[in-house]
Symmetry: C2
């Protein structure tokens, strides 16, 4: 992509309303634009990162046999009344008259819908287990929406739902989904750990939240550095002299962002909506369910909160919008950079090419702000190319013939 053509200019400042580091950097660097509080448009650079996050999540959901589908935002009141959530969620659910005599709402989550759909699909034990997921836009009318992409009013979420004949099967898949989540975060380059959290009113079993340490975190996690036991402070009870219940080590506190969560729903929704199956013995039984969520924008925001310096964003290898930011610093002759741009693209490398006629200082500044992992500098001064790692600003002089293998080595 030629930066001169890119729909996404960098800028020096953002509105002072924007309190969060992730929104400030992402707006300044041309990834997103604020539309209204908690509602952000994704510019081309932002969508590039979004798609990389999306693809990793999709691959890992497919790997645990999730079948992708797509449910709608518009919701009928009648359905949500059956689970009591029309009134329970009235605070954060957008609810309004549709002008044709019905009340509708925008989905905050999809348990009601997916359970209803499952009634068509699950009749007998032979239809179980089954796992479906979607990557879809949800709406939550948050009172405070001041955390950028960490807490949006309109946001894309991956939500997986699992259906089981018995508790044992649910527990096994829950563990499988738990491990898939850890794999997703690892691939994304995020250091996340799972934390015990409340199972909700319906369950004595814990749910799990996947936490990333950052000062912007809205959660506080109590954790053991030795055995990696961790629990959300909301449910932590001071016993045993405030020591780790697993290994007895002194516990610590950390501010964390919740980047995903998984729940055993049990029969809460199947009971309310009548999702039953015929067991092997011919009896009708309630289906057990689990739900597993990750917010895609929240992941992007978390990566920025956890990976930036005073110059800008530092994307992880898996989420860098481009693999290479090519900066032309040659004064008169653009041909060397132009040729390299075409060659790298032909070799399948994703290149953002700063072909703009602006000062070199501005090019460097923008490249650091945008945060592509590797910068390649073409100049008059040097036959060799400069390869700069954004993270640590380490510079390496590279012969042109070795560039491709250097790039591949870095990203391998």
């Amino acid at each position: 992509m030629r930066q001169s053509k890119l729909f996404g200019k960098t800028r020096r400042e953002v509105s002072k309303e924007e309190k969060s580091i992730n929104a400030e950097l992402l707006i300044r660097a041309g990834f997103i634009e604020k539309h209204i509080a908690g509602v952000y448009n994704y510019l081309p650079l932002g969508l590039k990162v979004f798609r990389k996050v999306e693809n990793i999540i999709r691959e890992e959901m497919n790997a645990i046999e999730g079948q992708e589908m797509l449910m709608t935002a518009l919701q009928p009141k009648e359905l949500w009344e059956k689970t009591g959530r029309w009134s329970e969620m009235a605070d954060i659910m957008y609810q309004f008259e549709d002008g044709h005599g019905s009340e509708v709402g925008l989905a905050t989550t999809h348990e009601e819908v997916v359970t209803t759909l499952a009634k068509q699909q699950i009749k007998s034990y032979k239809d179980l287990p089954v796992y479906v997921y979607q990557i879809q836009d949800k709406f939550r009318n948050e009172k405070r929406a001041k955390s950028g992409l960490l807490r949006g009013r309109e946001f894309s979420m991956k939500d997986l739902y699992s259906f089981h004949a018995d508790q044992n099967d649910l527990d096994q898949y829950y563990q499988k989904a738990h491990d898939a989540y850890l794999k997703i975060f690892k691939r994304l380059g995020l250091e996340a750990f799972s934390v015990e959290a409340s199972g909700g009113s319906m369950s004595k079993q814990y749910s799990h939240e996947f936490m990333v340490k950052t000062v912007a975190g809205e959660d506080i996690t109590i954790l053991c550095d030795k055995c990696s036991w961790a629990q959300n402070k909301e449910i932590f009870q001071l016993k045993n002299g405030d020591k780790c219940p697993e290994c007895g080590t002194k516990l610590a506190e950390a501010k964390t962002v919740e980047a995903g969560n998984i729940f055993r729903l049990g029969t809460k929704y199947s009971e309310a909506l009548g999702l039953q199956y015929t067991a092997e013995d011919g009896k009708m039984k309630d289906v057990l369910m689990g739900s597993y969520g990750i917010g895609l924008g929240r992941i992007m925001g978390t990566i920025v909160e956890a990976n930036h310096d005073r110059d800008g964003i530092i994307w992880t290898k898996a989420t860098s919008p481009y693999q290479i930011h090519l900066l032309n610093l040659a004064k008169d002759d653009k041909s060397k950079a132009e040729k390299l741009y075409l060659e790298l693209q032909a070799a399948g490398i994703e290149v953002l090419y700063d072909d703009r006629e602006i000062s070199f200082a501005k090019k460097f500044k923008d490249a650091d702000l945008i945060g592509v992992c590797l910068q390649v500098i073409v100049s008059d001064k040097n036959e060799k190319l400069e390869l700069i790692e954004r993270e640590n600003k380490k510079i390496k002089l590279v012969e042109k013939k070795d560039l491709l293998s250097e790039i591949k080595k870095y990203y391998s």
Copy 2:
């Protein structure tokens, strides 16, 4: 995909409310489920088709230098008041209080948003032309939503917006987009033709609609079979004895579905929202715009309306949810079909494998209803495989060793 595991069972009947052929067949075949009037959930089979449509559109938008982005559904009243569309569109735009003292709406289209975003990106003639698009969910509070996927209240749309320094540049790109649209429909396997339509109150130039002939069409097109001139009946004026204005041949009428449309917006939105650029001579000028839409669900619905028989859907080659529907008719020994399933998948073929223990008749019936282009039958009776084309039910006996090349030949 093993059909025994598929979240998407076929069924014999749908609710009598469902008047359209596309919704009836897509629901019966397990592609979609109706949620509320005009609002459909996509089951895994439906999403497969949706993604194929999406990918073709995306490729052709990228080919005409469209930069993909993603805008939001939630809209502030203030923005839409600037163009007068908050009140103009009140009938079909969902509008409501957000509970924090503001009125918001759900986007029916994104001219207001994209023009506002462009003000950050377009300052000088050097920033022009530029083209951005998105594939995103829109909401329209349609009074009658009885046409299945042809007219939804919540629906995914590709909308491209172009920005230009002058009319000539807009006209050139308009033609390019026009041709890209024809290419999209051709790749999708849809016989679409472009039709002159009203340019709206702002323009004396025609806009163009891309029409597909089907009896379910809500539009009437006046067309010339000889020179392929065509015009929407809404703007057609009886002159010249009702003969083709291009070649003088007698004109005909046809019922058509509008599968896409393109507009020259001129300066309508840039004037209302203050989108100007500094021209080469230093003067400030209004940016000219074009907008180019295609509804993805509508495309799916149109394909079904135009391609079905009394047994079910007949997907086009490019939109078949799987390349092969593999039916096991061997009574005792599943191993032959199982082996073939794995081999085809390993060869990169998309296979829906009917491994269910049900009657052969039901398997055939379901396969014809679902409408995968090619069926492969494994039986005890025959060492060879039966390859059936869904469209014409032509049967061919194929040696196993030749199957792959037969499949590739069909889809090439």
